[in-house]
Point group: C2
Chain length 435, copies 2
């Protein structure tokens, strides 16, 4: 007896051997995909959902987010990067306490569930308390508190919150909630830290077997100043220090050069591409076609929604495909299927969850979403992959499921009190941001 | 007694003297905005709508669309431009009859109403029958059938459907339906016609006082081949022929040069910027900042949804702002308010409807939309203009009204049988496209 059975579904599996099942079924048992195939299922189920006309597909994976920044959505638009960071974002972040960060995470994670995201690589602070919220919300999270260490003279790892939170996450949370919660190690960036501090974080990654999460060559200034300071690129600096000896997600990589792509392929470093944020902050267009051609694993992220201002991966998927076509003057580049891979298969690989999710295959976690296609802006559907990539939006997700548990369905948030989440963000969160 | 009164509304008026009313009212009488202001309204109304927490704003204006192409949504993605046009789009269009085009228009216009578009500049064929559909649907349309005349030897204006449809539209439809329906003249492009044929269409524009609608410098190839053929740019060719002596919408302008911008400003030619289509077909990024700085009126379009694949102007608004920032390496360029102007005030001006819509002011047509902001992906709202531009999507529109008549509200299409529209597009329309 299956727990849950989806029938009459058009399924985008994202398995290369059979990417699309035009009409089939997907059965869930104990949080895993028990069976998937064409036509009808012979097994019975406790709950049966008829998906006629809709698309079932893997949950989307957000490999670079600062989820709690959703309380700053629209707080600081259209500023220069320096003003944005030093006059708006940093002062506001200085006013955030644990409760405000919790409010931001709850709001942002609810938005992500609503828009079909099932797993987040989240870099922010107060992460052990966020882990507890994520556990209740049922979404998968890889949590990190990124090392920022500017002053070599006064740096003391024993007093560094990023170190202590990483240890706490690694010892108390890593692998908890049926594997949904993970600890990541994180270094904010080459330009915001020095070698010895970075090696403290790298040691934690090695010791606990954590994925490393870093910002890399996001802006031209950052990239070129590193070259001036070190005579090499940020990627080369981190490579030489052994940072990439742990599985790594490198966010942005807008200004990464060909030799950096070589490093990334050699070390299995994934790029977390954030096309919307990169445009909004005018950082530049990352050329993911070149990375993909080189064999680099490219995934997607929304970044903080203060520079976005959404957590809608459907928006990032379409933007990634379109930008790649335009900057390479070739409309065949990053086709719809390639684009969807970024947010599914490649995202799972970046997070180290490739044996767990990112595709719909028997044995993997039942992390799936459903798109309501009975809408004028999605019809007609010649090709479900095209419909998902070029026509659908996060708002068209009508069901989000993680490990077989439905967390969002047809307007209802089933694992979070959405009224409370919005009110808390609008009142306490906003007050702390404005100060 | 007002017909309709919106109360407790956060209103984005798009009037420069008072762009935002934090909490106010808007009254409708005989299809016009009778009153608008802060606080409460003293007049009574037949119907009162409480907008608490929501945003009321002008309906969006799509200045370049081939609406009926919505039946080809997803039919031809990721092809080279030549394959796309000659192997997919043209053969499919050759199979379209009046019924299929009607199905496509009905679907596309329903999508636009759902996403907050109240006025369309639509270039396609079978336009007199489309006028009748648009009249029933209540949406504003400026309809054209664009001249394509490749062979000088055999060209006969008396046999040219674009000429006869334009005359029919101008004599039977222009100004009908309380001004909602207009006829436009249209020339597909410099590269798909010759001088004498263009002058036939230009004469119609002059004779009937029509707006002219053309494609201009969409691709590098088109722009450079024109320079080689004529020793001047497409804009200069059309200028020298007097085409721009009528009010003109020039779509795309990706490769337009500084001297072309000068021409556009001098002649009041509006650019219909189509950022999504330009990226998907890899045509390039139009630099609208340069045009705006020059004093050119820049508006927005979705183009045909076979190269988009949406008719969501919220997507275009955000893309326009983001691309402008990124290609000019300056995040302050085209701020949220500037971006919203493209789809409202500037759109109305491009269509020659600036004394009629594009802003919410007493005396103008009551063309307005409401955004449902009670959603995690829009909260918190520090600035309603930012929320509308960077966070909201077409799907967040909960009410669309044209000339005081509500055409879409909370999932219900009030002027079109949406089940029929979708079925007709999925069956008859798809069959004709596939052939």
């Amino acid at each position: 007896m299956l727990d849950l059975l989806f029938v009459n579904a058009c399924i985008i599996t994202m398995s290369d051997e059979c990417p699309v099942i035009k009409s089939g079924y997907l059965g869930v048992s104990d949080g895993k995909i028990a069976c998937i195939g064409e036509g009808s299922c012979t097994e019975k189920a406790t709950v049966v959902k008829n998906c006629a006309g809709n698309i079932l597909m893997p949950g989307l994976i957000n490999t670079h987010a600062h989820t709690a920044m959703s309380i700053m959505r629209g707080y600081a638009d259209d500023y220069t990067l320096d003003e944005w960071l030093f006059k708006k974002v940093f002062p506001a972040e200085g006013r955030l306490d644990e409760r405000a960060v919790a409010a931001g995470f709850r709001l942002g994670a609810a938005e992500m569930l609503r828009f079909g995201t099932t797993s987040i690589s989240d870099m922010y602070f107060y992460q052990p308390s966020i882990a507890a919220i994520a556990e209740k919300m049922g979404i998968k999270v890889s949590l990190s508190n990124a090392l920022v260490a500017l002053d070599k003279g006064t740096y003391n790892p024993a007093l560094d919150r990023s170190i202590s939170e990483t240890v706490e996450l690694a010892t108390n949370w890593h692998g908890r909630a049926n594997g949904r919660i993970r600890a990541d190690a994180a270094i904010h960036g080459e330009y915001t830290s020095f070698t010895e501090a970075r090696s403290c974080m790298a040691e934690l990654a090695q010791k606990y077997g954590l994925t490393m999460h870093v910002h890399l060559s996001e802006t031209k200034k950052e990239h070129e100043e590193c070259r001036t300071r070190n005579g090499k690129t940020p990627a080369r600096v981190l490579y030489d220090e052994g940072i990439f000896d742990s599985r790594t997600i490198a966010a942005h990589c807008v200004w990464a050069e060909e030799e950096d792509h070589d490093i990334m392929r050699e070390k299995g470093v994934s790029c977390a591409h954030n096309p919307i944020s990169n445009m909004k902050l005018a950082s530049g267009f990352a050329n993911i076609k070149r990375m993909v051609d080189k064999g680099v694993n490219v995934a997607l992220g929304t970044d903080g929604c203060c520079s976005n201002n959404s957590h809608d991966l459907f928006e990032e998927i379409k933007a990634a495909a379109l930008i790649a076509k335009c900057i390479n003057s070739d409309p065949t580049v990053i086709n719809a299927y390639d684009a969807l891979k970024l947010a599914t298969v490649n995202g799972a690989r970046a997070q180290g969850r490739e044996m767990e999710c990112g595709r719909l295959c028997a044995g993997l976690d039942a992390d799936a979403i459903m798109l309501d296609c009975d809408k004028p802006h999605i019809q007609p559907v010649y090709d479900p992959v095209s419909a998902a990539v070029y026509a659908a939006k996060g708002n068209d997700v009508c069901l989000t499921m993680v490990q077989g548990k439905i967390l969002y369905e047809n307007g209802a948030f089933l694992s979070v009190d959405i009224e409370y989440a919005m009110k808390e963000a609008k009142t306490y969160g906003m007050e702390r941001v404005i100060g």
